[in-house]
């Protein structure tokens, strides 16, 4: 755009502008535009809540995971936020710095999300299905128990124990999962039972 502006009219225009803004600043007229304040939109609206337990230590704090999309309804869910569960008796909504940063832990690109298998003597891990992994574990348990199960001790007393394998359970479980862990291992005769809380 070309504007033919002489030196004189440029000065006139600039003077008028300065005068107008000065008048505005002095309180004449509504030169100060009223700008509507607004807070950030609440980001958890219409998200799906999923209650869970923090994965880290044996305190087992209750957490609520907020996701876009309902996983149970068959939708692809995207985790957007995690915070402490105020209704949980262990932590009443509070979390430690690691627990408070769980979102980044879950969304981490290096997190293992599927079972991986490395053959005896093999050098590389390969991704396998859950069926493959569970069958493999069941096979090992059965073989080892068949080979090393002790029904009676030297004195002939029935002991029904299996001491060549151990079971490492999660410390963050509830009473119910603890009961199930106990029943499963003791039914097999398994004696070494521990969890990651005792480190």
């Amino acid at each position: 755009m070309n504007v033919n502006l002489s030196r004189r009219s440029f000065l006139k225009l600039a003077g008028a502008g300065a005068a107008a803004t000065s008048l505005g600043a002095m309180g004449f007229g509504a030169a100060e535009a009223a700008v509507a304040a607004r807070v950030r939109p609440f980001k958890l609206v219409t998200t799906t809540e999923t209650r869970s337990i923090c994965t880290y230590c044996s305190v087992a704090c209750g957490i609520i995971m907020y996701s876009n999309g309902d996983f149970k309804a068959g939708e692809q869910a995207e985790l957007v936020h995690i915070e402490g569960d105020a209704d949980h008796p262990t932590n009443r909504g509070t979390l430690c710095p690691k627990g408070a940063a769980l979102k980044d832990f879950i969304r981490s690109e290096t997190r293992t999300t599927v079972p991986r298998y490395r053959e005896p003597g093999g050098t590389a891990w390969r991704e396998v299905s859950w069926d493959f992994a569970l069958d493999k574990i069941a096979r090992h348990i059965k073989d080892d128990r068949d080979a090393n199960f002790v029904e009676t001790n030297d004195a002939g007393v029935t002991v029904n124990r299996w001491t060549t394998a151990g079971f490492l359970a999660a410390s963050g479980g509830t009473n119910e999962t603890g009961w199930l862990t106990w029943k499963t291992t003791r039914a097999l005769g398994l004696l070494p039972l521990d969890n990651q809380a005792r480190v």
Binding site: A37, R38, E83
Partner: protein
């Protein structure tokens, strides 16, 4: 039809996921930066406050984690230089920071580890808002929350100079000023700040300011019983009181807590610049306007006499005749010397 969100009472509750009508509206704004005429708010919200009991803090930084997660900021990973502060200072992506101070108590000769959660104090009389030249970039709500509206921010950094606590930080690439919002988005739906909810020792509590003062009084009494005779509440009146308060075991010496100001006030420079200097400037502008108007009316254009015209003609002739010789002589000089040099 969405229902109006309740006013926040505590941080220890689970946030709603159903749509609620915000309870922190543009009509609840009490002050706006660079704006003299703010329409009076239609209602008075309950004044809220965050109470930080320094004597209960274990320095775990859960508040920092929760702040990052809620506000979706991404502070850079920094180098460990042998101090506990991480990051080393408040940044545009880290609105709150645990500051660690080692202090030797001269009375007991014992080393005390004083850990203070630093961040915006949400002053009743905010220096940032007063010094801000961008209309609508900083607002104060009737519940005491001082919030930065990034859309209106010009990133000039005046708020940093205006803040008695040195809290705002300018984002290098976005060119906007950033600081703690007291989780205004959570408060708007009846929730407390993310840091206060996460705090595992409940050193950070949140609620109506009067309740927080009462809680602080209980804590101060308890600390005094334990031998901290100078325990007290830090709610500095130099800035009209704050909406983030501290319980200090040594309230007589706030500066030992990583330089907490003893009597914070808005810088006299800001007060002068936005007060008398602004009025003087406007008066000068008014006088200049009036003067030029009067000059335009009364002063006549300059008149040139015939004698002056003749003199000008002569001067012009002299210059035109002398010029070519003088310039020609000088022009040859440098070229010649240049050739000699080769």
């Amino acid at each position: 039809m969405t229902s109006l969100a309740p006013e926040p009472l505590t941080a220890a509750s689970n946030p709603p996921t159903q749509p609620l009508e915000s309870n922190l509206l543009p009509t609840d704004v009490r002050r706006i930066s660079a704006t003299a005429h703010v329409p009076p708010p239609t209602r008075q919200l309950t004044e809220v406050a965050k109470l930080i009991d320094v004597s209960k803090c274990i320095g775990c930084k859960a508040c920092q984690s929760a702040c990052i997660q809620w506000n979706d900021t991404h502070p850079e990973v920094e180098e460990n230089v042998g101090i506990y502060e991480n990051p080393h200072d408040l940044t545009p992506d880290m609105f709150t920071l645990m500051r660690f101070a080692e202090w030797e108590n001269p009375e007991t000769n014992e080393l005390e580890w004083l850990i203070r959660k630093d961040g915006c104090m949400h002053c009743e009389d905010p220096g940032c808002l007063k010094s801000c030249p961008a209309p609508g970039a900083i607002v104060q709500y009737t519940n005491g929350v001082v919030d930065f509206i990034s859309e209106n921010c010009i990133g000039c950094g005046y708020c940093v100079k205006g803040c008695p606590f040195d809290v705002p930080r300018i984002h290098k690439t976005a060119h906007v000023s950033k600081k703690c919002t007291l989780c205004s988005d959570r408060i708007a739906v009846g929730q407390g700040p993310a840091c206060a909810k996460a705090c595992p020792t409940q050193c950070i509590t949140f609620g109506p300011k009067e309740e927080m003062k009462a809680l602080a009084a209980e804590r101060v009494e308890d600390l005094k019983e334990r031998g901290y005779d100078n325990a007290g509440l830090y709610d500095p009146q130099g800035v009209g009181g704050t909406h983030v308060m501290y319980v200090l075991h040594h309230a007589d010496k706030p500066s030992i807590y990583s330089g907490l100001p003893v009597d914070p006030r808005i810088s006299p420079l800001v007060e002068a610049w936005k007060g008398p200097a602004k009025k003087l400037g406007l008066m000068a502008a008014g006088a200049a306007f009036l003067g030029s108007a009067l000059h335009g009316i009364f002063a006549k254009p300059n008149e040139v006499s015939e004698h002056e015209e003749e003199e000008a003609e002569e001067l012009y002739e002299d210059i035109v005749h002398e010029a070519p010789e003088a310039s020609g002589g000088e022009a040859h000089g440098p070229v010649a010397s240049g050739e000699e040099a080769r």
